[in-house]
Point group: C2
């Protein structure tokens, strides 16, 4: 008999028939003798509707505390509805809100972090034979104000609960049925992975593959919570996200991913003096603007070119800041390019296999795809290319690393 | 500077423009220097939508605890939205849920009673200059389970808060603009009352006039909280519900009301023995069926006729029970009549004026309206008549007691 945390996303609880479907899955595991803690999101679209209401009520400038009270109301509806369905089917079930469990967070409204979860009430209800249904996405600060965990925060709620309860597994049910070698919409040869490491999952997420909220994977890694990602709409096997093991070394590359959300900024002929980078990037980070890849060429005659990527959604602010700062640091000119994309290959096998980078470059050059920037981490190589080649590059790399073959 | 509790019903907060209208009213009073505690219902229709969801999820048999979690989510939306609007207009406002205030209730889910309200947090927020916006209709039991107060429970929340805070006044904003001598839809000569006593308001409510939840008036009377009922859609004067004072004695009758929701049951020739009434009414009360008027004729030759009224909605259950019980107690036969209505005149002046009843009977007989049952209380006289005469009877009695004249 195991203790399983199951998280169901918004599309899985979008209406009563789907909630009944979720209930049947839970009951199937309950009848095997497992203790089940369920974490739910709001019904698909509901959180967006509440966000619109918050923006309309505040001329797009909502008070953060009240915003959290408003947008956390959607989960209250799904958890109680599921508990009603389960009770009606003859299974003892009880819903718990963030303040009832007590999911204690910091006070960073709209993007709070979980500090501590009190497991005593959940454990008691489990001992009393209840299926416990917990509201995802929400917590309370130490003064009992409602907080929310940011977009996709229910994944984090589920993993944090699994860690606190020392659950045997955390199952994440979504509208995709696992983690693929690449986006099946881009390349139909994409293959579902049976297993992937936390680090690969993190790199895939940072490279644009949005299956799990990044923070939830970090948390799973930290507490070594096995994550099992699968669909709530079928019984296909999903993907296990876990620690590195011997099997995994056989796979050099696990996935190829692309990200069209970035833009490239180049400062041309910047005087190569100490403090320039800091004067450039500090005003960006002060405004909460994320800078991803940064490349600085070797200095020639005391000048260098500096290239980096930012998110397209931040470009207006980036231009405002850099048009001023570029002059301050004495750059000759500044160029912005929004027609780029980032292609990445990810795999723990890279650590013990050489030649991955060159194989990537060769594959791209065979198709005359020009590489504009390169950056590498221990288990990821990313190249910036022209946006129009995105899908081609994904397919070429998927073939080059033989990802369609099951290993 | 006063402390005012203001309660706004569902139609007053049905959408953002209406919530903005409510915010402007609150701000107007805030700018006069008053401390304001606002109590809100859910948006009009929302609680009904959530109830439907609960019934759909449970084949019409919802677990009471989970039902309360679900249907209490609507108020969370309105309180936070109003707080967002107020903050956006430059006024400090903070929403509080039942568990945050701490509105402690008993454990009677779906119809809980308030046991105690902790005023410390509200008082602190008022001292800090906040407008405090509290979720009506909800509380928590001692184990922090969410409870709700029953249909119209937000009125009770408001009065209980006003009592606990020792507020100067509790203003109830609704979609009607006060309490009338009779239903203006039945008789256009209906006149708005400036003042009415708690007892009159209670008798009017029990006689079918649904302006305030009955329990809220009982509570206001118990703690002597002045209730001011007015419209949130205009600035007309409303009606003050308060203790009896000298002025009021001038008015013999304050209102005429009618109730078409009752049905009449007659047991013919029941043996007049001790214990018969108990054997009849105990099975009804065991099933939660309310019996209103009861009349027993004088016994003739050891037999009596017993007549009483129940609500039409309970008729199926009543028939099931009484078809059996009537035989058990030896009644000759049983008659059911759903084509009746109850007409009542209410007024504290009756206590010191005689002849009200006869004036009522004369007025009805002049129009050949047959009286089927009569019952009286200290400040109310009710007659059951044929349903088809309802509107005529209301108009005739309104004229007979001169209610259209302002006094």
């Amino acid at each position: 008999m195991a203790l399983i945390v199951q998280k169901y996303g918004g599309t899985s609880v979008a209406d009563i028939p789907r909630i009944e479907n979720v209930a049947r899955r839970i009951i199937r595991d309950r009848e095997k003798g497992h203790d089940i803690v369920v974490v739910l999101s709001a019904m698909a679209g509901e959180t967006d509707r509440l966000i619109s209401l918050a923006l309309e009520a505040s001329d797009n400038n909502p008070d953060a505390r009240e915003y959290d009270v408003l947008i956390s109301s959607g989960e209250q509806v799904t958890i109680s509805t599921l508990a009603l369905v389960l009770n009606n089917l003859g299974f003892k079930a009880r819903s718990l809100l963030g303040h009832q469990v007590r999911v204690l967070t910091d006070t960073a409204h709209t993007n709070a972090r979980i500090l501590e979860i009190d497991t005593s009430l959940i454990s008691r209800e489990l001992r009393n034979g209840f299926i416990v249904v917990v509201a995802g996405f929400q917590g309370v600060d130490q003064d009992n104000n409602i907080t929310t965990l940011g977009r996709g925060g229910s994944d984090t709620s589920a993993v944090a609960l699994a860690a606190a309860l020392k659950a045997d597994c955390c199952e994440i049910y979504t509208d995709v049925d696992g983690v693929y070698t690449t986006d099946p919409n881009i390349y139909k040869k994409a293959r579902k992975l049976k297993k992937i490491t936390y680090d690969e999952m993190l790199e895939l997420a940072s490279a644009g593959a949005k299956v799990l909220q990044q923070r939830s994977v970090e948390l799973a890694k930290k507490y070594e919570v096995p994550l099992y990602v699968k669909s709530s709409f079928n019984d296909d096997e999903g993907t296990l996200v876990t620690m590195e093991d011997v099997d995994m070394e056989k796979e050099i590359v696990s996935g190829v991913t692309s990200d069209k959300n970035q833009a490239k900024v180049t400062l041309i002929r910047v005087p190569d003096k100490p403090g320039v980078a800091s004067r450039l990037f500090t005003p960006l980070s002060d405004r909460g603007i994320v800078v991803d890849m940064i490349i600085q060429n070797a200095s020639i005659e005391g000048y260098t070119d500096l290239t980096f990527t930012v998110y397209k959604k931040d470009m207006r602010e980036v231009r405002e800041i850099l048009d001023v700062v570029a002059k301050d640091v004495g750059a000759f000119s500044i160029e912005y390019d929004e027609n780029i994309s980032k292609i990445s290959v990810v795999g723990v096998g890279m650590k013990s296999h050489s030649g991955v980078a060159s194989r990537m470059f060769v594959a791209l050059s065979k198709e005359n795809i020009n590489i504009l920037m390169i950056s590498t981490s221990e288990i990821k190589i990313s190249c910036v290319i022209e946006e129009k080649y995105t899908e081609l590059a994904v397919r070429v790399l998927h073939d080059a690393f033989g990802l369609e073959q099951d290993r």
